[in-house]
Amino acid sequence: MPVNFLGVFAKSPIKPIEQHIDKIQSTAELLLPFFEAVKAEDWEKATELQKSISQSEREADTLKHKIRMRLPGGIFMPVQRTDLLEMVTQQDKIANKAKDIAGRVIGREMRFPEPMHDTFSAYLSRCIDAVKQAHKAIHELDDLLETGFRGREVTLVEEMIKELDRIENDTDTMQVKLRRQLLDLERELNPVDVIFLYKILEWVGDLADLAERVGARLELMLARS
């Protein structure tokens, strides 16, 4: 084999990380049609969607492992290797959470009380907005590299992360309202179902929390510059 110095260029982890967050986003977005089916009590369709969510989560896992294998020690990057790996771990947890939510709902054939339908839909889509916002910020890694992780581009990404925090705040407020609503309804419901409904509300909120943590990792990377 011909010998040249180009071996010093290691494969960039940026594209795979972007692909990973793409996969994460599409996994989380599957929850939207999933809950539509649940509300319509179309269990056949819901089960099908739950299977796609699981499948999608497994694919995200594979991507995660590939990224880790690609970043052994001795790789020199513009950002800390540990920060990058930690960020990928956080990204991956979003898909895990989506899988858990769908699995639990299917497992118990959970029914959502009619009055909560609209508020829950709004809450879910806001939580997924947070994931989308994290996705958008991660896709700035390309441009961050172009600008040497410095200057205007950093400010731009910091803005995106602030927006992500605002979205997460929204979801907190919405969750409080939903809990209040559930409290008013819970006397008419099966107590065990109520416990699991609270759980699901929490887990859906976790999607936004985890998305915020991805943003926080990204912010840390930029702060260490």
Partner: protein, 422 residues
């Protein structure tokens, strides 16, 4: 008159010329991938374009700016006064050195070690002189200078690369209108590349073509060439077609297109620099053999290079890259992800300037080493997605191993040759 040199002179010259040519061939075939790899890897040049540029500018660099380094290798490393009584030993030694360096390069390539041609030949020359004749025969002061330059030049080129990259960030990337600023400033970088190349050519290379300029004339000429190249660059950039629906995201894509034009200029510069410094590794020893044999055994302190030597080396390099270079370069392919032209240019321009200036002062430095330094410089400026420090370490180790390896082989061949001839 030394009997052996008179009877065997033509044969010795022919052997040295053959080995020198083969060495130049090897340099062309193998090292060209280092010199042109960044341009091809960042997608600024196709393989065919890279070969054409390499053919033209390697030849120009070797022929026009290769003389100083050739002289250093011919007569700067060993103290010729120790060979006055036995000039044939110097001839045998230089032939052995060529053979040793050539064989070491083949072995190293086979093992997959990225060794340096410069280090092999310097190690080989020191080897036969120190062991075959005596350690006093080596100009240790000059050797120390050369080896010191191997440590300093990568650092310098890394520093320059860091600065160039930072200026590009300040002037172009971190602004409101990166594309407009790229169009405005990139021609200046092209002019700078042309200026360095032209200045070394004019001050060092045109002498042996019989053209002599004063210092002021040289600078004026180099500036004029630089301005012309800058203007050509501006026109070329003006003819680029950009994605009209460019939002903030794709804007950098358009900016990189502008840098693609710049990389054509820096690739020329790199090929020129490589030719100017590395041709001496092949023909420096040959030049020594020819000088001594033609003087009938005397070792003149300063002698003009025989006219055919530089072209022989230049043609060897061009031959090597034309015949085998394509295969070598094509293995680079698209392996390098995320090496965009704006990074490649900073590394290439820094390395090329460092090498060309070193060539002008006669220092035989390693092109590859300088490039690695430059790439690390851009990496330090947070410009490259991921660098393999393990590979950098292997490269450094293989350089260190090359000196004793080249020396040992050349001692072996020297002893054999001396016994054969006596």
């Amino acid at each position: 008159m030394v009997e052996v040199l008179v009877t065997n002179g033509p044969w010795l010259i022919m052997a040295a010329a053959l080995f020198g040519f083969l060495m130049a061939f090897g340099i062309g075939a193998n090292d060209v991938a280092n010199a042109m790899g960044t341009s091809v890897g960042s997608g600024a040049l196709t393989i065919k374009q890279a070969i054409i540029i390499a053919v033209v500018f390697e030849f120009a660099g070797a022929y026009l700016a290769g003389g100083e380094v050739t002289n250093t290798i011919r007569s700067g490393i060993i103290d010729s006064s120790f060979f006055i009584d036995q000039p044939e030993l110097m001839v045998y030694g230089m032939v052995s050195a060529l053979l040793a360096a050539g064989i070491w390069l083949i072995v190293a390539s086979w093992l997959g070690w990225p060794v340096s041609t410069t280090h092999s030949i310097i190690g080989a020359i020191i080897g036969f002189a120190a062991v075959g004749v005596g350690s006093e025969a080596v100009e240790w002061g000059k050797v120390a200078g050369i080896v010191g330059s191997w440590i300093i030049t990568p650092a310098i080129s890394g520093f320059i690369a860091y600065l160039i990259f930072q200026t590009a960030q300040k002037l172009i990337f971190d602004t409101d209108k990166p594309l407009e600023n790229a169009k405005r400033y990139v021609p200046f970088y092209m002019a700078f590349a042309a200026f360095v190349m032209a200045l070394v050519t004019v001050t060092k290379g045109l002498k042996h073509l019989g053209l002599n300029f004063t210092l002021i004339e040289s600078y004026a000429l180099a500036l004029a060439i630089a301005a012309a190249i800058g203007l050509v660059g501006k026109i070329a950039i003006g003819r680029l077609k950009f994605d009209p629906k460019a939002d903030r995201m794709t804007q950098f894509g358009n900016v990189e297109k502008v840098f693609g034009i710049l990389m054509i200029a820096t690739a020329c510069c790199m090929a020129f620099a490589h030719g100017s410094n590395d041709v001496a590794n092949a023909i420096g020893p040959l030049a020594a053999v020819v000088t001594i044999v033609q003087a009938g055994g005397e070792i003149p302190e300063k002698a003009p290079l025989v006219w055919w030597i530089l072209p022989l080396g230049a043609i060897g390099i061009v031959f090597g890259l034309a015949v085998l270079g394509k295969r070598v370069i094509s293995t680079i392919g698209t392996k390098i992800t995320h090496l965009t032209p704006s990074r490649g240019f900073a590394a290439e321009l820094a390395a090329a300037s460092t090498v060309v200036i070193a060539s002008g002062t006669g220092l035989p430095i390693s092109t590859t080493q300088t490039l690695v330094g430059a790439v690390l410089g851009v990496g330090m400026a947070r410009g490259i997605a991921a660098l393999n420090l393990g590979v950098v370490r292997n490269i450094v180790v293989s350089w260190v191993v090359t000196l004793p390896a080249g020396a040992a082989l050349s001692i072996l061949f020297f002893t054999l040759l001396r016994n054969m001839m006596s």
